[in-house]
Symmetry: C2
Amino acid sequence: MPKISTRGTVMPASPIRKLVPLSDSAKARGLKVYHLNIGQPDIATPKVGLNAIRYLDRKILEYSPSDGFCSYRKKLTAYYSKFKMNINADDIIITTGGSEAVLFAFMACLDPGDEIIVPEPAYANYMAFAISAGALIRGVASTIENGFALPPIEKFEALINEKTKGILICNPNNPTGYLYSRTEMNKIRDLVKKYDLYLFSDEVYREFIYTSSPYISALHLVGIEENVVLIDSVSKRYSECGIRVGMLITKNKELRKTVMKFCQARLSPPLFGQIIAEATLEVPEEYMRDVYDEYLERRNFTVDTLNRIPGVYSPIPMGAFYTIARLPVDDTDKFCAWCLSDFEYEGQTIFIAPGSGFYADPTAGKNAVRIAYVLKKEELQNAMLVLEKALEEYNKIMNG
Amino acid sequence: MPKISTRGTVMPASPIRKLVPLSDSAKARGLKVYHLNIGQPDIATPKVGLNAIRYLDRKILEYSPSDGFCSYRKKLTAYYSKFKMNINADDIIITTGGSEAVLFAFMACLDPGDEIIVPEPAYANYMAFAISAGALIRGVASTIENGFALPPIEKFEALINEKTKGILICNPNNPTGYLYSRTEMNKIRDLVKKYDLYLFSDEVYREFIYTSSPYISALHLVGIEENVVLIDSVSKRYSECGIRVGMLITKNKELRKTVMKFCQARLSPPLFGQIIAEATLEVPEEYMRDVYDEYLERRNFTVDTLNRIPGVYSPIPMGAFYTIARLPVDDTDKFCAWCLSDFEYEGQTIFIAPGSGFYADPTAGKNAVRIAYVLKKEELQNAMLVLEKALEEYNKIMNG
């Protein structure tokens, strides 16, 4: 049997999806499993998007342009201008989800052995895409005590060497929910400028900010326009995860030209995804407001409840729909698996993501979990109760 | 401005799509452009596929499983069994088009510096995906004089070294239309077995075989089951290029496990694509027969007409919907560009793909073009006339 590639061998299994078999067997045993493990909203997709394909009159399902439909890219500029982002249609390349935008950004900017610096905990799949490109992620730990604020910029600077090509941030942050302040963004800008680095900025959660602090996009930063690569996606904001539509946005022409070569190789982004996403730009403001209010209530409830469970602590996330909570257990990898394989409370259990998956160092994050508050409040209520009972029983076993 | 990656710099622009700006300006000048450059069928997509989304009752457009819907993978086994391919649902991973299947196969099997051997001319994007994985394509030239039959297997063997990880074939072949015989496939099998190589086999055109010779899939070959990686796609067979649904199929469990890590990182293949592709499995036989007859007629007409143009030669392709033709010009890169930028015949011109894009060596294929017979016969008729007139005028200019 021929050898698997080293790349394929070191590629991590998704820390979120790797417990799926345990969850499947829990369900097979008849348990109700609360999915707090994945950013899959239970919110209805806007009707204006769904209707676009219902009444579609297309006879041939052709390739679309490699950079996406021009009509869609043009309309997106109006969307971004609402956030004071000055983006032209030509700056936008439509990708197959935000995932492909990250992959192509890394492919076009990073060579094997190159390094990027990422505040941790971080979205696990950045690591997977870095490995695909042969690049290395150097983590700088943010801490729960500081609510996962940007670590001191000196810690970033200390890691910079001749292999360093960029900094990656997610803002508002998945998994911490942190929103970078203007002061923090300016520090990042100065460092990016000083060393002429790329700034990869994943901003897919900009609609979900629960604080009066302003949203500072990487594209708001003056003087590093050619350095910024913005990652975006419609998945979370319109509950359209399945259609696989994202964007790679950059003012850097040469980079766009390079990214386009990767886009041409894969021919085109999904046709129906683009049709739906384009129509969804007409979503009523009321929809967005309702979704926002819903998440705000869920956040408040989740964080408040977590902090009432003995030994549990969660900072108050300012955005996105996740929080990183510290649990009173030694090893959340074991605890999360145990919840699915050996525990139940009144026929229910919980599926939460172990913290270790959000760090390049596999020994980090052992007492943390990521909780996605993507369920209705009544379900969250039950899930929090199940978590409390699980912690009680787990610690009884561990200490007994 | 930070540096573009070396990978991104050496990545070739698509030889087929790179002339698009010239074609766009020809259209802007009011010319009718016949697109013989791209495998975009003009055939109507089966209604059974289109209807599947029209009457869909889904409220949330969720992620699908990373390996695709189980129901779809199960039904596909019946499709493959019609071709005597013994494939289980677990052997199949649904990808975002055949493109992603090639990329993930390379990512999981090949490390930077590894080599694969490919008979040339070959589908241009294999090169792009190889570069993405840091791997090298070693071409073995097939020749127009032999109708692009498999080159002597000794030529493959001569290239094998410690870096060689696999052989890649496309069968029936894009761009040549060649169908590998049982004898040829057995030779490939023996070589793959002798050196324990991967055999990547792209078989997306199996429905389009215009000869009584049997279709020998790589998965029909006995004794190399763990070595074969089959690439498939619904794009061409159902005129569903835009929905981005393909398959990576292998009996090699360890490889599947590795590929799944790449699949999990990009979360899921397109939702609507899968719904349409699954429904399309119920396509009436009559549809497939009509499409087949249509392409057969187009092939016969195209090849016959090409061979009547002075100085032009095309072998008779046995499958797919392309042919490689030799033209009486020095440099088809220049000729194809000239057709779009400087030529017209009665308000019309042609867009054909220069041969050089189908070889790793950029100096090869200079007197060849790939012609996709994906237009209605009346349009092909006009296009062939335009080609004849273009050759006349081009050679008058060149010789004058």
